[in-house]
């Protein structure tokens, strides 16, 4: 799978587990996740199953113009 443009070896079963493994608190404000070009609502993170070829984007707002 790919996470934020980098190849990644899938070890977790769900998006919630993946975030936890990365030390990302799912309660962190302003986070958003998309899998294969589709946004996954925050309430579905823990139940969202991952597949080996998933392309995951994890973003948050930053300073911008």
């Amino acid at each position: 799978m790919r996470i934020n443009g980098k190849d990644w070896l899938l070890a977790e079963q769900s998006l919630g587990e993946l975030l936890a493994a990365q030390g990302i608190d799912p309660a962190t404000r302003y986070l958003a996740v998309a899998i294969n070009g589709t946004v996954v609502p925050r309430g579905q993170w823990s139940a969202c199953r991952l597949a080996p070829d998933d392309d995951i984007e994890i973003v948050r707002p930053r300073e911008g113009g």
């Binding site: 302003y30 984007e57 300073e63 911008g64």
Partner: protein, 263 residues
């Protein structure tokens, strides 16, 4: 004679949302976070722009947005996107992250000049409007493109004055004025502002507002420049409403010509 106080009903309305300030300001490129916060405060802006970026996989600590989010209304952008597809996904991620359906739609067609890709912009605007977004596209200063964006459902159009970060001001004031005269939606001058007189000129030409970032962030004294921009936008708006005198190619005396001494 005492000055008469009149309540100022001249607020900017975009997609039903009212703004007292006609200046929108970006949050990038300041010397440090405190100067950024002070500058945004000094600008009087109510709407500030932010970008959407991948997080570091090392963990997501507190970000600037945690500080900004409680004090100002945030307008996420799609800065850096080169295709409608990427911009649409970025807008959808921004909506999820920030809980706003407002998006500054930016699709770059040329990496060197950062000029927008009009074709992708119109297509993405149509898609995002159908998806319930309030779309504010950063676009070229082409009246036809602006008309098509408004037709596609854009809540405002945001033509560039000159290339992003260039500080060249308004390279084609004639086009900006033409866009303002014809546009059915508010026109926000976005990009290219270098100093306060540029912002004032944009407003004098009929722009409904000005969006800027680098002119303040990169100024020698960003806090002071933010205040100057606030005043310039207000002065330019007042001058537009007051109606400037026509330009003449010859002199016209302002003092009476009758009763001259020695005549």
């Amino acid at each position: 004679m005492p000055a008469k106080t009149i309540a100022d009903p001249d607020s900017l309305v975009i997609a039903g949302q009212s703004f007292t300030s006609r200046l929108f300001i970006g949050t990038s490129g300041y010397p440090n976070q405190q100067i950024m916060l002070d500058s945004v405060e000094a600008s009087g802006a109510e709407l500030v722009t932010v970008a959407i970026r991948r997080i570091s996989l090392d963990g997501a600590g507190e970000s600037l947005i945690d500080v900004l989010g409680g004090r100002w209304r945030l307008l996420p952008n799609t800065a850096g996107c080169a295709t409608a597809r990427d911009a649409i996904l970025t807008a959808q991620l921004a909506r999820e992250a920030l809980g706003t359906s407002w998006i500054k739609l930016e699709i770059i067609g040329d990496r060197e000049t950062l000029h927008p890709d009009s074709e992708q912009l119109i297509a993405a605007t149509e898609t995002l409007v159908r998806d319930g977004f309030t779309v504010l596209p950063y676009c070229g200063d082409d009246p036809v493109v602006c008309r098509k964006l408004a037709g596609a459902g854009a809540a405002a159009v945001m033509p560039l004055g000159s290339p992003i970060g260039s500080g060249m001001g308004l390279c084609n004031p004639y086009n900006i004025e033409l866009i303002c005269r014809r546009s059915p939606v508010p026109v926000i001058l976005d990009a290219g502002i270098g100093t306060a007189s540029d912002a004032a000129l944009a407003m004098e030409l009929g722009c409904a507002g000005v969006l800027l970032n680098s002119a303040v962030a990169k100024a020698l004294d960003p806090r002071r420049m933010a205040g100057a921009m606030r005043d310039a936008v207000a002065a330019g708006r007042a001058a537009f409403l007051a109606g400037r005198i026509p330009k003449r190619g010859y002199a016209e005396p302002s003092s009476p010509q009758l009763g001259l001494v020695g005549s």
